[in-house]
Amino acid sequence: MDYVIAALVGCFVALGIYMLLSRSLIRMLLGIIVLGNGVNLLIFTAGRLTREIAPIVPRGLDTPAGAIANPLPQALILTAIVIGFAMFCFLLVLAYRTYQALDADNTDTMRVAEPEHAPNPPLSY
């Protein structure tokens, strides 16, 4: 089953990249989320999958009775989810502000920082 999820990870990554390559900021944001989900799933899978048994020690025991899901990737992913969400929020608001200020959603038309017809360097001393 690990391999099925691994293939699913590939789908997430591919779709995320495809969306990131569209020039519209909002679509790119969706791509960022999908890509992030893909990476989180990747970490989850890389920690090997175990069905259903959450890494919680039953009350009264010092260690869980049997095999449980690998807790470390879960902790890492939790961190990554929150960080990814923070980034997403920022980028979303950035896209919003950019749209307000530049009236553009298409990254190809945002040419303030790198003007399209940048002057050639002067041929002088």
């Binding site: 789908c11 969706l30 890389a46 690998n70 960080i83 923070a86 502000r97 003007p115």
Partner: protein, 856 residues
């Protein structure tokens, strides 16, 4: 030698820098006398160096050493032998006179203090260069001379020609400097020492090594760029854009001699090979003739001298290349003589320019009556340049002709070149000395009268020195020539200079032939000039124009390359990143055999039979299909709302996967994040009036799709390779085992978050907090334009690069700017603003490129 001498020798190189740092301040207090006051520093150095003559004669060399970078095995070491002492005396002696001269020449100039500072700093660098024992030290000072020279050439910076000359000199000499650095490091690696003094006697380690050619090339490039050898000579005449004292000091007497010094210094261990001799003699000879002819072509006195300096440098290089005792002796004498007369002549020309207001040889005449002292100084220097007795240059010529009268064709051709070159130079000398002063008086822009003491002290003293050394030729031979030549050749050299001229020797007649030839050239100078100029016009280009072509070519090339690489289209930037990502994934998988871990191996036997459908429960398949459906829906969504909903679907699917595989915390968090994401997205989207569809042209679609598929497949495959191994679960085992007993928590994931790896969490909440601040910063900036309340956004919103040409986005926004601003000013428009035309038009339509005229 004790620490005292170490310290004082180091002080020789350091004192000028200190003086330079203080010069602007001193100048403020001693305005009319700054030149005289600051000249005390070089004068003191000169006197100190004179006291070292005797010890040097006695011991051969005085070493001095100060710890500098012991961790790197580097000392700031100096040593004074005949060669460096000759150079150092010349530098400090002429330096003294130049500083005095500058004070008078630039009297009243607002930046005189700065000028003197640069001049003194240069002198310190030059002294350090010739005194340095450590090759890296030498390199450091070498580069410092380039920098100070850059500043001095560009001193009169409002003129484009001065700026061009400065940049040209810097670039050319810097190329040489880089070669020197490489060469110096190579020599250190071949011999294991940085010290020049220790290199003597290690010639086998250098000359015998396979890298000798490379070392030689590095040193020769360094020396040729610095000493303006053909075809890298062209920067030197342009450097004459500097004020005359600079030309006199840097570009004739000292800095340009650094290359000569380097070659002389390297002779014992680098020289003497066929390659060395051939290259130096050939390039030196060509430079000699080329420079001398170039000099005759000019009518500007300063340019004549500049070109003749090139010729003299060629002569010196040629003599070093010959490397015989007489050639080296001739080279040493010629170096001293040249420094004395050329600096003198430059100062004379400066005085003429200063007093008469022009340097055109055709516009000058009959100044001898008005400027008698100047004329006398000119004659003294002229004697030297012409090589007449009783000037020291006479002996230089004698020495260089010696031993060349041999049956070998090489020697004879060198002799011919030498005679021709000397004759041409002598003719130039005659022209410079005679034309402006004798003959009918010409009207000049300024009414000429005698120059001030400050302007005259230099040329007169130098001229007299040129004669005095000749009169004391025996002493000169013993105290200057012998130690210097010995240092260069690393073998004892005997001076045989004497006034007893033997007319039976052919050498004397060679001198006479030179003079006769020079007389002829002088007689037909105008004709020759016309012919040379015609030739130049016919040729159509010079090394100088080639430099411009290369430089502008480089600038244009830079422009094109940069525009291609940094085009400003985020989408293509991302394409680059993902292409590289595809490479990073695929190359290890397929070229390095990573995929083998997934391929069936031979032991497996009939592996196809063992293939089976992955063992997944139906609801698990359901979740996976849900995820895929969500993904598909995002792409296929007809509008934004659907795509946001689809996003929620795939997020929920991910949460379910987490839940199915034992991660309730994750599932819960993922779900909450997904809900909040959708809410926030929806909050923002209701404000925006966006283009709904993905308008990718087919090529882009194909490209993006391929990239995405390759990357996705690569990630999947690499992950499968990873999964094919077994996971080392030490960390998790530890956490599971200690979570309850030691960390007192039953939810292991939470314990990892707040205890085992709490530090990550601390960073993570900082990320959240920082995101909160950043978003606040972003939203705060909304207020700025509204505060003014004008329908058109105020100026600060527009970048300041190009105020008048429309910057693209503003132009694009122009028709709808009003509504945007209104949207900001009014609280919460319930309905989206009237549909704006999507920014989809071809770029050229909107931007109306008004490329700003270049401020060339």
């Amino acid at each position: 030698m004790g620490p005292d001498i170490d310290a004082s020798i180091a002080l020789v190189a350091i004192a000028p820098f200190v003086a330079a740092a203080l010069a602007p301040l001193i100048h403020r207090f001693t305005k009319p006398l700054s030149g005289w006051v600051l000249a005390l520093v070089p004068a003191a150095i000169f006197v100190f160096l004179v006291t070292l003559i005797e010890p040097v004669l006695a011991t051969g060399a005085i070493p001095a050493r100060i710890g500098w970078v012991p961790a790197y095995g580097l000392d700031l070491s100096f040593f004074i032998d005949g060669l460096s002492l000759t150079f150092a005396l010349t530098i400090s002696g002429i330096g003294t006179l130049i500083v005095i001269y500058s004070g008078a020449y630039l009297a009243g100039h607002p930046h005189l203090g700065r000028f003197l500072a640069f001049l003194l700093a240069f002198m310190g660098a030059m002294l350090g260069l010739v005194l340095a024992d450590n090759m890296l030290g030498l390199f450091v000072f070498w580069e410092l001379t380039a920098i100070t020279s850059f500043l001095l050439i560009g001193f009169d910076a409002v003129r484009a020609a001065a700026r061009r000359g400065a940049i040209q000199a810097l670039v050319i000499t810097n190329i040489g400097g880089m070669a020197l650095l490489a060469g110096v490091i190579l020599v250190q690696q071949l011999t294991g020492t940085w010290e020049l003094s220790e290199l003597r006697g290690m010639e086998d380690a250098v000359r015998g090594h396979g890298l000798y050619g490379l070392v030689l090339a590095c040193f020769i490039i360094a020396a040729f760029t610095k000493s303006a050898q053909f075809p890298l000579h062209f920067w030197l005449p342009n450097a004459m854009e500097a004020p005359t004292p600079v030309s006199a000091f840097l570009h004739s007497a000292t800095m340009v001699q650094a290359g000569v010094y380097l070659l002389a210094r390297a002779t014992p261990w680098l020289g003497g090979t066929v390659a060395w001799t051939t290259i130096l003699v050939c390039f030196g000879g060509v430079t000699l003739i080329w420079g001398a002819l170039g000099s005759l072509r000019q009518t500007d006195l300063k340019q004549m001298l500049a070109q003749s300096t090139i010729a003299s440098l060629g002569l010196l290089v040629l003599l070093i290349g010959l490397g015989t005792q007489t050639a080296i002796a001739g080279m040493v004498i010629y170096f001293v003589a040249h420094a004395l007369y050329k600096a003198g002549l430059f100062m004379v020309v400066g005085a003429i320019d200063h007093e008469a207001g022009t340097r055109e040889i055709t516009a000058l005449g009959g100044l001898s009556g008005k400027m008698p002292v100047t004329f006398a100084a000119a004659i003294l220097a002229g004697l030297s340049m012409f090589g007449l007795p009783p000037a020291i240059a006479f002996f230089a010529k004698e020495e260089m002709y010696l031993n060349l009268l041999s049956p070998h064709w090489q020697d004879l051709s060198v002799l011919a070149v030498l005679i021709a070159g000397n004759a041409l130079l002598a003719a130039v000398g005659a022209l410079v000395v005679i034309k402006p002063f004798l003959g009918p008086a010409m009207p000049t822009p300024k009414s000429a009268h005698e120059a001030s003491v400050g302007l005259l002290a230099g040329p007169v003293i130098l001229g007299l020195a040129g004669i005095a050394t000749a009169l004391l030729v025996g002493w000169f031979g013993h105290t200057v020539l012998e130690p210097a030549a010995t240092a260069i050749l690393n073998e004892p050299v005997e001076s045989h200079l004497t006034w007893a001229i033997d007319f039976t020797k052919p050498v004397v007649w060679l001198s006479v032939a030179t003079w006769v030839l020079a007389g002829l050239v002088y007689r037909y100078a105008t004709t020759i000039r016309t012919l040379l100029r015609r030739f130049e016009t016919r040729l159509g280009w010079t090394a100088d124009t080639v430099f411009d072509a290369v430089m502008f070519g480089l600038i244009r090339f830079s422009g094109s390359v940069t525009r291609v690489l940094h085009h400003g289209r985020l989408e293509l930037y991302l394409v680059t990143v993902f292409s590289l990502m595809a490479l990073a994934l695929m190359v290890p998988l397929f070229a390095l055999g990573g995929i083998n871990a997934l391929l069936p191996t031979a032991e497996l036997g009939n592996w196809a039979a063992q293939l089976r459908w992955p063992h997944l429960a139906p609801y698990e398949w359901g979740v996976i299909i849900l995820a895929l459906a969500g993904l598909g829906a995002i792409v296929a969504a007809p509008n934004r709302l659907y795509s946001i909903l689809a996003l929620g679907v795939q997020g929920t699917a991910v949460a379910l996967i987490f839940l199915l595989f034992g991660a309730p915390d994750l599932a819960f968090t993922q779900l909450m994040v997904e809900i909040l994401s959708v809410v926030i997205l929806a909050l923002v989207m209701t404000r925006l009036n966006l283009d709904e569809r993905d308008h990718r042209p087919f090529e882009d679609w194909a490209r993006d799709g391929t990239l995405a598929l390759v990357c996705g497949a690569g990630v999947s495959l690499l992950l499968m390779v990873v999964l094919s191994g077994t996971l080392d679960t030490r960390l998790s085992d530890f956490f599971i085992a200690t979570s309850v007993p030691i960390a007192h928590g039953a939810n292991i994931v939470n314990v990892i978050l707040v205890d085992f790896r709490g530090f990550d969490t601390l960073g993570e909440i900082s990320v959240l907090m920082a995101a909160g601040i950043s978003i606040m910063v972003l939203l705060r900036s909304r207020r700025a334009p509204v505060a003014v309340g004008s329908p058109v956004p105020p100026a600060p919103i527009a970048p300041k690069i190009k105020p008048e040409p429309t910057q693209p986005a503003r132009a694009a926004a122009a028709p709808s700017a009003k509504s945007t601003v209104k949207g900001r000013a009014k609280p919460a428009p319930k309905k989206p603003a009237p549909k704006k035309p999507a920014p989809k038009k071809p770029a050229s339509e909107k931007q109306a490129p008004k490329s700003p005229s270049s401020v060339a």
